[in-house]
Amino acid sequence: MATATAPTPRAALPGVLRHPVARKLLLLAAAAAVLVPLADAHWSSGTWPKALTVDLTGPLTRTGDWIIDHRDSHPLFLHFLGHISNAVVFCVRAVYLLLLAAGWAGVTAAATALAWRAAGKRLALGTAAAFLACGALGMWVPTMQTLALMAVAVLASVAVGVVLGLAAGLSARLDRVLRPVLDTMQVLPAFAYLLPVVLVFGIGVPAAVLATVVYAAPPMARLTALGLRGADKEVLEAVDSLGATARQRLLTARIPLARRELLLGLNQTIMMALSMAVIASVIGAGGLGDRVYQALASVDVGAALAAGIPIVLLAVVLDRVTAAAGDTTGRTTGTGRGHRAYTAYAVGAAVAVAVAGRLAGRPDWPGSWTVAVAAPVNDAVGWMTGHLYSGVPVIGGTADWAGRFTTWVLDPLRDGLQGLPWWAVLLLVAAVAWPIGTWRTALTAVLALAATGVLGVWEPSLDTLSQVLAAVAVTLVLGFATGVAAARGDRFERLLRPVLDVFQTMPQFVYLIPVVALFGVGRAPAVAAAVVYALPAVVRITAQGLRQVDPAALESARSLGATPAQQLRQVQLPLARPALLLAVNQGVVLVLAVVVIGGLVGGGALGYDAVFGLAQGDLATGLVAGAAIVCLGLMLDRVTQPTERRTKKGA
């Protein structure tokens, strides 16, 4: 019933109208013909009519003031939120102290043992190298802070996610209720979660952890539910036929059968928690993200990179290890006794190393072992930006490109959108969304866009929308081209993979300065930052989609003598259509996720408002901008969402 389409009369229609798209558009046109004159007569204005806006400034400001004034006296804070906050601080502190007590040697040994156990020798070596690199970059303590925060946030996310996932996996009704909520939460930009949490918990670690939990729990919940629902029906039937009780069925069959999805959920939760833990540095999360953020103040790309590399390393290691753990389902893994003995050895070895480290008086990373990467990186970036910025013969410098892009693409797009009457914009969205999706998705998209008008941020929303559209277009062009190249050349893909990893996990703050140095301040660098962020996922999904095209179809095309270009155009691209559509959807969602980053480089509009709200503690501006970004996200997601939803976000 979720895919119900509009009731369509079976009466004899002219030929064109049998096509569903034409029929939908005709219906839409009919509806518009009635509604538009009405709307125009009532609220005739080019931009969103004043009469239809709700000014939230007053109530929001009062709410913010009330919370600040009552945070130390009201029972809601004293007896409920205060305990949560304290519990978070207590847990993070406990983990942090444990990590510090273990010392760098102990932590590295324990992490290596864990990786070995879960993912084998190669990844264990990688893990050890990554941790040592964190130390060598002089980032040991911030790394431990981030790890402590992550550990608590991931545990909480997993707990929340599994509970929600069990509920949705076992009850069809709850699934229907939860699924759209979880789906929507996954497309929301991370920044949207920060302000409400800060409002309640204030700047600091508790707010950061809770924002992270809210951000990272949905994939766990979705995949848990998916795993439970996707269990082999015959196995479950077999379990029933042996007379299992509901509890036995859940514990001995459904949960073990969902192991792969559960681990995939854990993997995604960890990755999202890491990215959020970095972003949350703007609300006082501390750790590596904070170092990156602080390096920005002195316009020090090298220092930012020194803190960014450990984040990338952590991300890659955590991703590979949890992914490998998920893939071992069904592999022989010795007997139970062997496991326990192995675990005992590993724990023993880690403890021994930690104790040895302490006895040697070296729990902190020795200062003399650090490598200063900041200076050479700064030189390199300086050289690059100096030479590319302007005056490059023939093609012009990056500054010229940025100027031209702004004048010829961004300006017309923005002015065009803002120049259209408001109802025309809504109509346009409906006309795009309905043929691609169902009337429900179209309605959601239209309502979401209308909500930005109601919130009173119609103009900046359209400004942001124009930047997003431009960025998506650039991302798709570059992404599809690179993706096709990667799908056709194994060596190219192998070279590309680490680059994609780095760009996907590198905190966006790091490339903020180079982007400004290359493209100046304004909307063009905002678009560039968005493209850099969204490109890896698009490339990856495209390449994967092309590679997964049925080999039989390709073989038959080859046997008919198709040239490589023909194969691509006539077989691979059409067959990879679902993957390409998914890439579009992901591109849109990811581009929107860094709108706030765009605000930091002069993108203005909603991104700037959100940053402004955070920086000034101005709830009215920040929350409204955040809500508008969310609405845009919903709208774009629905517009670009074909039939089936993805099960994975990003990589």
Binding site: G82, V89, R93, L97, G202, G204, G284, Y389
Partner: protein, 315 residues
């Protein structure tokens, strides 16, 4: 509504069955890590503030034996964090009358910590190389004549006035409107972006007009001259929408968490006495921002050369 929240909270209290937990009296989980005496300082995003904190941190650690944690927070949220005790001190505040009234006068959770000794000033600046070509550009009345010079892709047909971080105090939009200037305010969105852009312009000797503030180390790298706006008079900026005068000169202030101020011992006493000159601050800032020393290296270098200055701060 009030009743209902109270009722809800009451139920939750019964459920949790434990006492009150005031999250506004809560330290960072990363503080006190080694059982040492610890101070948490708020660092704002500009380098001058980093210089203050770097020197304070260096002296607290090496002269008084404290462990210092720093947290980067924007200005207004920093007041809230200071009030909650999540940071112990802000060393450089550019004037937030609303926050001061709320936290210092009404709630009494924040105490004044005296002046930093540096006077801050916000204004509009053009690069000095531009002033050499157009000497009359430093009067706002002539700005309209030069608008075309400052045009960029981002500002469209108007001249570009570049503003910085959203956390800074700015009246520029109102100023442009009220002074009827043919300019477009473009927000760089962060100080990092703004500085990067200024340096790119300076490298090519391009004209630009920017919101900027002193003391700031960037003046040493890119000499800039202030554009004279209508003179500042007491109260002329009372209504943010009608401002048509220059920014004031602000003696920068220090603020301490009220409890820390009373019980902070040597650290609190030291931070109250901490005061230096604009030149001192700029020296450290430049080492951090331009020579890319770490804040701690810069602080050490400065401290080695200015022992007489900081000896007076020690309790």
């Amino acid at each position: 509504m009030r009743l209902r929240t109270t009722a809800v909270a009451g139920t939750l209290l019964l459920l949790t069955g434990c006492g009150a937990a005031d999250m506004t009296r809560q330290a960072s989980p990363f503080a006190h890590a080694r059982g040492a005496r610890t101070v948490t300082l708020s660092v704002q995003s500009w380098v001058g503030a980093q210089a203050n904190v770097a020197v304070a941190q260096y002296l607290l650690e090496h002269e008084l034996g404290y462990r210092v944690d720093t947290v980067q927070i924007d200005e207004v949220p920093a007041w809230d964090a200071l009030s909650q005790g999540r940071v112990d001190a802000i060393l450089e505040d550019w004037g937030h009358p609303d926050q001061e009234k709320r936290y210092v006068d009404d709630k009494k959770t924040i105490a004044r910590g005296g002046a930093l000794g540096v006077t801050g000033h916000i204004g509009w600046y053009v690069p000095t190389y531009l002033v050499k070509q157009h000497p009359d550009i430093t009067d706002w009345k002539n700005l309209n004549a030069y608008a075309s010079l400052f045009r960029t892709a981002e500002s469209g047909g108007k001249g570009q006035l570049m503003d910085g971080s959203p956390s800074y105090v700015t009246n520029d939009k109102a100023l442009v409107d009220n002074l009827k200037l043919d300019y477009q305010v473009v927000f760089a969105g962060s100080e990092a972006a703004q500085i990067t852009q200024i340096r790119q312009f300076a490298k090519e000797k391009k004209p630009f007009l920017t919101y900027w503030y002193a003391p700031q180390w960037l003046f040493e790298k890119v000499p800039m001259t202030e554009v004279k706006l209508p003179a500042h008079k007491e109260g002329c900026d009372a209504d943010p929408a009608k401002v048509a005068c220059a920014y004031p000169r602000t003696p920068l202030q220090k603020y301490l968490n009220a409890d820390f101020s009373k019980q902070g011992g040597e650290a609190a006493a030291f931070l109250k006495k901490f005061a230096w000159t604009t030149e001192d601050q700029n020296e450290v800032s430049l080492m951090i921002a331009d020579q890319k020393l770490t804040p701690q290296e810069a602080a050490k270098k400065w401290a080695d050369g200015h022992a007489s200055t900081w000896k007076a701060w020690l309790p």
